[in-house]
C-alpha cells in the first residue's frame, strides 16, 4: 500500500493511506510526497489524488499565496540556520526550492521515521530522495507480451518480451528515454502480434486451399 505524506496549511501528516487521504480531503494548495517522487509536489500534479480534493469553496485564493505561509513556519522549527534564506524571500516563493530536493538520499523505507511532523519543509531536506532509478517505470507491457506469445503470434510476442525486459533494465541504468522507447516499441509489437493472431490466422486455412 502506498503511503502519502501531506503538508497542508503548514501541518505535515503522514504516513497516510489513499483511503485516509480521501476521507480527510485535501485542499488545492496542499503538498504531497510519496515513494517514487523526487520531491514534494503540489497535490494537483498527482492525478491519482484528484478525487481527494475538497471542493474549492473558500480556498479560491491562489495557491502561491498560501505557500509562503508554509515556509516561514519551517523556520520556527529548530532548523533556523538551514532554512534561514527561505522565509525572507517568502513574498514570492518558488514552489519548493529544488535544492531542498537534492538532499542526500536515504532508503525510501525509512521515510516514516525521518519525518518529524513539526518541521514541514526542513524535514524535506532529510527527506529520502529516492535514488535515480526510482523514476516512474514506463509500462512494460509484459502481460500483453506473454499473451501475445502464448495465444497469438510467437515471434511478435518474443520481441515484445525482450522489449519488456529492456524497459526495466534501461530504467535501472537511469536511461528514462530508452525505457520509454522500449515501452512504446514493445506495445506496438504486442498490438501487431494480437492483430496478426486475430485477423491473419483465421485466413490461413483459406490461404492453404
Amino acid at each position: 500500500m502506498v503511503k502519502y505524506w501531506i503538508n497542508q496549511d503548514g501541518v505535515q501528516e503522514g504516513p497516510l493511506t489513499f483511503e485516509e487521504l480521501k476521507a480527510k480531503g485535501l485542499t488545492r494548495d496542499a503538498y504531497v510526497w510519496r515513494e517514487g517522487l523526487a520531491e514534494w509536489v503540489p497535490v494537483s500534479s498527482l492525478a491519482e489524488l484528484t478525487i481527494c480534493l475538497l471542493p474549492t469553496a473558500e480556498v479560491s485564493q491562489p495557491a502561491l499565496s498560501s505557500a509562503p505561509e508554509v515556509l516561514p513556519e519551517a523556520s520556527e522549527a529548530s532548523e533556523v540556520t538551514e532554512v534561514a534564506e527561505e522565509p525572507v524571500a517568502a513574498a514570492v516563493p518558488p514552489v519548493l526550492p529544488p535544492d531542498e530536493a537534492v538532499a542526500p538520499a536515504a532508503a525510501p523505507a525509512a521515510a516514516p521515521v525521518v519525518l518529524p511532523a513539526q518541521q514541514p519543509w526542513a524535514a524535506a531536506q532529510q527527506q529520502p530522495v529516492p535514488a535515480q532509478p526510482e523514476q516512474e517505470l514506463p509500462p512494460t507491457n509484459l502481460v500483453w507480451a506473454i499473451i501475445t506469445t502464448v495465444l497469438c503470434c510467437v515471434p511478435c510476442g518474443v520481441v515484445a518480451i525482450l522489449y519488456a525486459s529492456k524497459v526495466s533494465s534501461a530504467l535501472q541504468s537511469g536511461d528514462l528515454a530508452a525505457a520509454r522507447s522500449a515501452s512504446e516499441k514493445g506495445a506496438w509489437w504486442c498490438i501487431g502480434g494480437i492483430v496478426a493472431g486475430i485477423v491473419f490466422q483465421p485466413l490461413l486455412p483459406l490461404l492453404m486451399l
Binding site: M1, V2, F18, E35, G36, E48, E136, L137, P139, T140, L142, V143, A145, I146, I147, T149, V150, L151, C152, C153, V154, V158, I161, L162, A164, S165, K166, V167, S168, S169, Q172, G197, I198, Q201, P202, L204, P205, M208
Partner: protein, 122 residues
C-alpha cells in the same frame, strides 16, 4: 481514456473467446485458426495447443489442458497476477515494479524457449 478502451477491448475479446472456446472443440472443429509455424515446419511452436488447452480448461480438464499446452496453463496465473498489478498500479506501484522486473521477462523467455525445444525433442 486509452486505458479504458484497452480494458474494454480486453473484456469483450475475453468474453467472446470464453463462450466460443467453451462451446466448440478446436480439435474437432475446422474453423479454428491453425498454427502457421506448425503448418510450415512441422514443429510445435510455444503457442501450439493453446486453443485445445483453453477448451479443456473451460471444461475443467486441467490434466488434458496441461498435455495440450503446459506453458499456457502455467502462464495463466502469471498473466492474472500481472493484470491485477497493472490494474492497481496507481495504488501499488511497487508491486507492479517488482513483477515487471527485467529478470521476470528474461526468465519467462528462457522457460518458453527451453520448453519449446523440449516439447519438440522429447
Amino acid at each position: 481514456m486509452r486505458r479504458a478502451i484497452v480494458w474494454t477491448a480486453v473484456a469483450i475479446v475475453a468474453t467472446v473467446a470464453v463462450v466460443v472456446y467453451y462451446r466448440y472443440d478446436p480439435s474437432t472443429t475446422s474453423v479454428f485458426p491453425r498454427c502457421l509455424f506448425y503448418a510450415t515446419t512441422g514443429y510445435q511452436c510455444p503457442g501450439c495447443g493453446s486453443q485445445r488447452a483453453i477448451h479443456a480448461l473451460l471444461h475443467g480438464e486441467v490434466l488434458n489442458a496441461l498435455r495440450y499446452n503446459a506453458l499456457l496453463v502455467l502462464s495463466l496465473p502469471l498473466v492474472a497476477v500481472l493484470l491485477v498489478a497493472q490494474w492497481l498500479r496507481a495504488l501499488k506501484p511497487g508491486f507492479y515494479r517488482a513483477l515487471n522486473a527485467t529478470w521476470v521477462a528474461v526468465a519467462y523467455l528462457v522457460v518458453t524457449i527451453v520448453w519449446t525445444i523440449a516439447r519438440n525433442v522429447l
